[in-house]
């Protein structure tokens, strides 16, 4: 029982794997095979290698926002439609701080702090009062926030393109005949470090344990003295921080800052989160990376999938996954007692 609980807490393993066709083992094999295929392809073609690295960088941005969605979903069991716009707004905050004279990285860390405060304030002020009365009303609140934040940002900063200094310079690495911009490595590294830090927080600290307990078993957690409300607010704050990382790393990959920056990325993040199983942090990150790489490669190599069809294709794949495995690749299959 103890081991079963642990795996539940980590949200990585599917307890009911025996019930569904695909177990975690099959999915690990699938992922390893995919990674091997990417490696072989990269060694044979430099275009393929470039697209793979670029796809991984974009995918890490999707994964970071997807992880934010997962954290919110685990805390409150709703999907936060405003997550992308919140990320966009915090990126504008960073832009403003840089305009006021801070260096890029000073602004970066200051923004993460501001994002944390914003996330917690949102949960306490707007989500919590509605959530305990109606979950769908809380979702609609996030939809309202989507429109509101978009309007506020456009009101303050205008809808025209803004430019931020590049955090990673314009260096281009040459690895065995393949030219890859330092930018993509930078994005990948920053996102992965943030994700690892969040994972470590959840895994190794008392606060993280409290948050996991509050998300999974609120009533029991409260009984053993965990401040459940506070834990959920911190969860939203951390989600906002991860979103800010996604926004700040999306900006250099798109080269411009505009109010619609995160809208397509939010869509891919949804897809990544669902692919990973919505409750699984690792699944969200893996889903994001897989989506980023496969979309980048498919648009290049499959002539029938033109860039207009990129989104529908991503969602066709998503639907297919959901139909075969309705709880996502890494999701737990829930068995309900009636």
């Amino acid at each position: 029982m103890a081991t079963a609980e642990t795996s539940r807490l980590e949200g990585l393993r599917s307890r009911g794997a025996a019930l569904g066709g695909f177990g975690p083992a099959a999915i690990s094999v699938l992922l390893v095979a995919a990674a091997a295929a990417l490696l072989v392809g990269s060694l044979r073609s430099s275009t393929f290698a470039q697209l793979t690295v670029q796809g991984l960088a974009l995918g890490s941005v999707y994964g970071s926002l997807a992880l934010a969605l997962v954290l919110v979903y685990r805390a409150s069991h709703i999907v936060n439609f405003a997550q992308g716009e919140l990320a966009m707004a915090t990126t504008y905050v960073a832009y403003q701080l840089i305009q006021w004279g801070l260096s890029y990285w000073e602004a970066f860390f200051a923004t993460l702090g501001i994002a944390f405060v914003l996330g917690t304030v949102l949960e306490v002020g707007l989500i919590r009062p509605v959530l305990h009365r109606s979950a769908i009303a809380a979702v609609i609140v996030t939809v309202g926030l989507f429109i509101l934040i978009d309007g506020v940002v456009t009101w303050i900063w205008g809808g025209d393109f803004k430019f931020m200094p590049s955090p990673f310079g314009t260096t281009i690495y040459h690895v065995g005949g393949v030219s890859i911009a330092r930018l993509y490595f930078g994005i990948l590294v920053v996102v992965l470090i943030s994700v690892l830090l969040v994972w470590a927080l959840f895994r190794f600290t008392k606060l993280g344990l409290g948050m996991r307990a509050a998300a999974l078993r609120p009533a029991e957690a409260a009984l053993v003295g965990i401040r459940v409300d506070r834990m959920l607010a911190i969860g939203w704050g951390l989600a906002a921080v991860l979103g800010a990382v996604a926004g700040l790393m999306a900006e250099p990959s798109q080269y411009v800052l505009e109010p619609t920056l995160m809208q397509p990325i939010l869509v891919y993040a949804f897809a990544a989160a669902v692919l990973g199983g919505l409750e699984s942090p690792a699944g969200a990150v893996v889903g994001g990376l897989a989506l980023g790489v496969s979309l980048n490669l498919i648009v290049q190599y499959v002539p029938a999938i033109t860039s207009e069809l990129q989104l529908p294709f991503a969602f066709a794949v998503l639907l297919a996954v959901l139909l075969i495995k309705p709880s996502g690749l890494f999701g737990r299959r829930t068995v309900r007692r009636v």
Partner: protein, 310 residues
């Protein structure tokens, strides 16, 4: 006798709606027609989400299908516009059932995101098949109706579809829908055929959205373009349904007016009308309404009636 108060308020609303075109300017008639269009779409969404418990963030996609049906039929065959609306109803009914079939395996958040995918994907399709569907330039109908024609069409359709919805929901089918919403397991145990009723709800709901989409295109001078059916439209419909109150027919007018009028009205107010002020107002209003009345206007009406009765 049971339905007398309800019937009375319906007749009153109907009388006001019939008088409006004689009282308002052409511009305001067009606005009122817009509300009628949203009325149909929100009504349809409520049948699915409010009564059957299947959330959809993809009804803008069905509106797009309905709208393009009208535009293409009118462009290629000069079909009578009313007939194109019926065609939109039928085609969206089929599409709704087709979407409802895979949706059988999904529920809750997963269904929400799958339908969200639909809202995002469908408007991309005209860009791919641009010869037939006009690409980014859109499709123009052969004829464009007047504001008054549109108003009459929108509200006549609203009235017919409202009665139809009421008839469907009060009987055996509506009971099955509500049973599915409240507990799928209990519904199956009582002999409700889950696949049948879920896909039926999807079909009916999509067909309503199809008619709304058809009118929506006619309201934009008979011009169907991908950008008009973006994700925001789907989100607006969901907002409308939530503001109206899920699982009740009494708030739908308020929900439709909320999404149909608020952005336009707030943009004509000085200070906030400039720049993107109307988004700020609309977003803030959505948040505020949900904070104050989480079960929407229908919930408010129910509470007032209970207070009056007590």
């Amino acid at each position: 006798m049971r339905y007398l108060p309800a019937l009375g308020s319906l007749v009153a609303v109907g009388a006001v709606l019939a008088a409006l075109p004689f009282l308002l300017s052409a511009y305001h008639v067009a606005l009122a027609a817009q509300v009628g269009i949203f009325f149909i779409a929100v009504l349809g969404l409520n049948i699915l989400t409010g009564y059957t418990g299947q959330i959809s963030i993809g009804h803008g996609a069905f509106m797009a299908i309905g709208g393009y049906t009208t535009a293409v039929l009118s462009r290629d065959h000069h079909t009578n516009l009313v007939l194109t609306m019926i065609a939109a109803f039928a085609i969206c009914l089929v599409f709704g059932v087709l979407v409802g079939l895979p949706a059988l395996r999904l529920s809750g958040v997963y269904l929400a995101l799958a339908t969200f995918a639909l809202a995002i994907s469908v408007p991309q399709l005209p860009l791919k098949w641009s010869k037939f569907l006009g690409g980014r330039d859109g499709v123009q109908t052969a004829t464009t109706p007047s504001h008054v024609w549109l108003y009459a069409a929108a509200w006549t359709a609203s009235a017919i579809l409202f009665v139809l919805a009421w008839l469907i929901l009060r009987g055996r089918v509506g009971r099955a829908f509500r049973a599915v919403r409240d507990s799928e397991i209990a519904a199956v145990a009582s002999g409700v055929e889950l696949p049948l009723y879920k896909t039926l709800a999807f079909g009916i709901s999509a067909a309503y959205a199809g008619i709304a989409g058809s009118l929506f295109v006619l309201a934009t001078n008979g011009f169907a373009a991908p950008d008009e059916f973006g994700v925001v439209l789907s989100l607006e419909l969901l907002i409308g349904a939530a503001v109206a109150g899920l699982g009740s027919l009494w708030g739908i007018l308020a929900g439709a007016a909320f999404i149909g009028l608020l952005p336009t009205v707030s943009s004509s107010v000085p200070v906030i009308g400039s720049a993107h002020g109307q988004d700020v107002v609309f977003g803030a209003a959505v948040v505020l309404v949900m904070l104050l009345i989480p079960d929407g206007f229908a919930g408010l009406v129910a509470r007032v009636r209970r207070l009056a009765g007590a």
